[in-house]
């Protein structure tokens, strides 16, 4: 065979879309459609189609200079010995690597944080419900679907599932930020009315999402809604192995990325070790995150790809590209998906690191077996009680002010460019501000001003949606003042 064909999974979100990555003689990558893949039948979204752009290889570095992996591991070991270490792995890599990472944490007497701070706010009996969703096929047989995400922008491969459900007679109600074409009803109602107004019962499915910047009150509200209406619930997640890494790191502190950033700012975190997780990309404001990371004494990055954090890291331990890794992923429905790759460079590097730090050696097969034993079993979802939660405050509806809301999607999580250089506003806003056709809207917050093109959508007053990270954002929602330019 000339070149290589990898059977792998798209790293864009936790949907688990299978695909082939072809590598030709010159190393150029091409996406091909894995039609027998259960989650997606080989179909891919915009992000999946652009995947070759995502595979920018990482280079091992020590203090800004290129080095061999061995030297990087050695330097990392020296700096980690005896240090008070914080570890972060959101699940952008295989179960096996995540487990190896967590073994290193054990050796150092610490834990791996998955960055999903919301878990620490939830009683443990809720975790399985948030962690592993219903199957994607279950969506198709639902009688009614309540959407709290925008499938077109955020999780595009959900669209066909929902359309299939509609063909089977389901009705769809969207409680999102803007009108959705596939919804039979688009409701913008007070959260207190969800239970009485959305018409949900045990044959319904709620689709929401959970990510590092989720509002915990919102997740509690969703859990309460599912509890009271007896509807099934599916929490979509942004990282390829978010479900797997959550199951592997159960019982740990589950510190959120924002909390870790706060810790760095306060000076309580001096050494950060991250596995395929870039806070610069993951935090709502890249510039602020980058400034924060500079305050660390030691930033050690183990990663398969080139991303902004590599440039500010003290040490980068580069691993093989995701598609080439031996290993498995668990998607949002709890399905274990295997890579066809056979490379174990990442695991070998972590094994060496572990040994240098007084831990055990690890090999792939052993880790894989542990993964199979520990996370692939029948999931039980214990009952939980109603949770107290705050009503989500999305800010004032003042004249000339708006709430800038992040419509999180794979491009945002990887801070990759796309044809998304615009914000969405409604016609009322256009008229009120006197926006001209082809003109721009200026958004100003404490973090600065940005001029953006705009697209008109049917949506409530006072909202400005973006599918791209903007430098004016201070969180996943930001109050901004608006003006025509």
């Amino acid at each position: 065979m000339i070149g290589n064909v990898y059977q792998t999974v798209c790293p864009g979100c936790n949907m688990g879309c299978g695909l082939y990555i072809r590598e030709d003689e010159e190393g150029a990558l091409l996406v091909d459609f894995m039609k027998s893949s259960p989650a997606n039948l080989g179909k891919l979204c915009r992000f999946g189609m652009k995947l070759p752009h995502h595979y920018s290889k990482a280079t091992s570095m020590v203090d800004g200079k290129e080095s061999s992996v061995e030297d990087a591991i050695k330097a990392a070991s020296d700096r980690l010995k005896g240090a008070n270490v914080t570890m972060l792995g959101v699940g952008n890599t295989t179960n096996e690597e995540s487990l190896a990472f967590s073994n290193i944490a054990d050796a150092m007497g610490t834990v791996v944080n998955t960055g999903m701070g919301v878990y620490s706010e939830l009683p443990t009996e809720c975790h399985p419900t948030v962690g592993v969703g219903i199957t994607l096929d279950d969506i198709e047989s639902a009688k009614r679907i309540a959407l709290f995400v925008d499938p077109y922008v955020q999780y595009p491969l959900l669209v066909r599932r929902i359309l299939a459900a509609k063909k089977n007679g389901a009705s769809v109600v969207s409680v999102g930020w803007k009108d959705l074409h596939l919804a039979d009803e688009n409701r913008y109602i007070d959260p207190d009315l969800y239970e009485s107004e959305l018409g949900l019962d045990s044959e319904s499915v709620i689709i929401a999402d959970v990510h590092p910047n989720t509002d915990p009150g919102w997740v509690k509200r969703m859990l309460n809604l599912a509890l009271k209406t007896q509807a099934k619930i599916l929490f979509m997640k942004p990282f390829v192995n978010a479900t797997g890494v959550d199951l592997l790191c159960k019982g740990t502190g589950q510190k959120g990325i924002p909390e870790i950033m706060d810790g760095i700012n306060e000076g309580s975190i001096k050494t950060l070790v991250i596995l395929d997780s870039d806070p610069v990309e993951l935090m709502p404001n890249s510039d602020v995150a980058a400034e924060t990371l500079k305050k660390l004494d030691n930033l050690i990055v183990i990663t398969s790809r080139d991303s902004p954090v590599n440039k500010m890291a003290s040490i980068v331990i580069a691993t093989e590209p995701l598609c080439a890794k031996a290993g498995s992923f668990m998607n949002v429905e709890g399905l274990l998906l295997n890579n066809s790759g056979e490379d174990t460079a990442g695991i070998d590097a972590m094994s060496a690191l572990s040994q240098n730090l007084g831990g055990a050696a690890m090999d792939y097969q052993e880790l894989h077996n542990t993964v199979l034993e520990s996370i692939v079993k029948k999931f039980t979802k214990p009952k939980y009680k109603e949770l107290a939660c705050e009503v989500l405050d999305i800010g004032p509806f003042e004249e000339k002010k708006g709430n800038l809301i992040y419509l999180y999607n794979p491009f945002m999580w990887f801070d990759q460019s796309d044809d998304n250089d615009f914000v969405m506003v409604n016609m009322n806003t256009v008229n009120k501000l006197g926006l001209s056709k082809g003109g721009m809207i200026a958004l100003t917050s404490d973090a600065g001003t940005v001029n953006m093109r705009y697209r008109v959508e049917d949506m409530p007053d006072g909202l400005i949606l973006t599918a791209k990270k903007l430098p004016v954002a201070t969180g996943w929602t930001t109050v901004v003042s608006t003006e025509a330019v």
């Binding site: 070149g3 039948l41 915009r46 189609m49 093109r453």
Partner: protein, 384 residues
């Protein structure tokens, strides 16, 4: 001596290849010989992923060619992509061959360096649909399947323990399974556009199941066969009149079925309702661009009219991308169905495109992908 127009029946001389190949292993042996004797530098073969899926790979290893047994019913793929800049031989269903020829018309590949061994095709099936069908209609565990065949309008599956089960394709398609939609109205079943047109239709008597019927379409076909005979990889004999008649009859039945189904698949939509229909069909488009990426006749590359003049910021009632493609492909769409296969919103994009392409091509008495010298009607613009 082999001549253009010959109708032959042949098989691989290697017993192993002959047994393992779907019908005599002629195609595998011809490809292997082409590589072995230096007629080509590479061969595209289908790598077995599972019983229901194969992916094309490029190889220069004769053993790898011999080890491959292409699944006859695997869905079409963009083979020209792999042929670019290579001296290559490939097996191809009629629509695969059409696509390769369209790419040659657009100067993307050199047909003189591309040998196409055509395979008869009565239709292909989507792997996931097939698995669901096996459970629902056949009561067979998909894991147990070892072979499949289409005979006399029936789809047959063979299982590990030697059992066979046949169900009429009509029945399967009525239940929502069976062939892909674009295969149902396809009327090109014998790859007369390839260099060799091979298949098991017309293989009768003692040879049934262990030989391949092969029609030599052009000089390249002659070369392929003579090369394989010289290499001692195949043996051929003239097909009997009866065999030729039977092959033609099977083809007629298939083609007529395709024509009949076309009328069912494309019911008339009144003038006043069509705009609404197209808008609704395309409204769930998520602008992934997969339908262009996978399109085997498109040779525009990444920066093309349909993509460069389309922007998500434009909230148009219809997407510029689709409008350009509907027009652009109306003379060249071969209805292979790959765009529908990969659409993440399950838009039946091939069916929509065909509503434009079929009348446009018929009016001009033009079928894309048949002969490299037929100029696409839209190219008249450049040539005049």
């Amino acid at each position: 001596m082999v001549n253009v127009g010959d109708m032959l029946v042949g098989y691989a001389t290697d017993e192993n290849v002959r047994k393992r190949g779907a019908s005599g292993g002629l195609v595998t042996a011809v490809l292997a010989a082409a590589l072995e004797k230096g007629l080509v530098e590479n061969v595209v073969v289908m790598k077995h992923i599972n019983e229901f899926e194969a992916v094309p790979i490029i190889t220069n290893d004769v053993d790898e060619v011999l080890a491959s047994t292409g699944s006859l019913h695997s869905v079409p793929v963009n083979l020209a992509k792999y042929a670019m800049g290579r001296k290559v031989a490939m097996p191809a269903k009629p629509c695969d061959a059409q696509a390769v020829i369209e790419q040659a018309k657009r100067g993307m590949i050199d047909l003189d360096n591309t040998y196409i061994v055509g395979l008869n095709c009565g239709g292909s099936m989507h792997p996931v649909t097939t698995k669901k069908m096996l459970v629902a209609m056949y009561d067979i565990d998909p894991e147990d399947v070892v072979g499949e065949d289409i005979e006399k309008g029936k789809l047959i599956f063979k299982t590990k323990n030697g059992e066979e089960k046949a169900i009429a394709i009509d029945e399967l398609e009525e239940a929502g399974f069976g062939r892909r939609e674009s295969c149902r109205f396809c009327t090109l079943k014998i790859p007369v556009n390839a260099d060799l047109a091979c298949g098991n239709w017309g293989v009768i008597g003692d040879l049934a199941g262990s030989a391949t019927f092969c029609q030599v379409m052009n000089d390249k076909g002659v070369k392929l066969l003579e090369n394989a005979i010289e290499a001692g990889r195949i043996e051929v004999e003239p097909a009997s009149d009866k065999a030729i008649a039977i092959r033609a009859k099977v083809n007629d039945v298939m083609v007529n079925l395709g024509s009949t189904l076309e009328k069912e698949i494309f019911p008339d939509i009144p003038d006043k309702e069509r705009m609404q229909y197209y808008m609704e069909q395309m409204e769930d488009c998520i602008d992934c661009g997969a339908c262009k990426e996978v399109c085997p006749v498109c040779a525009c590359g990444e920066d093309s009219k349909c993509t460069m003049f389309h922007s998500l910021v434009d909230n148009y009632k219809m997407s510029m991308y689709h409008l350009v493609r509907l027009l652009h492909l109306s003379d060249s769409c071969i209805a292979c169905g790959q765009c529908s296969d990969v659409c993440p919103s399950d838009i039946p994009i091939t069916l929509l495109q065909s509503r434009f392409a079929i009348p446009s091509q018929r009016k001009r008495e033009y079928t894309p992908g048949m002969n490299v010298d037929d100029v696409p009607p839209f190219f008249e613009v450049i040539l005049k």
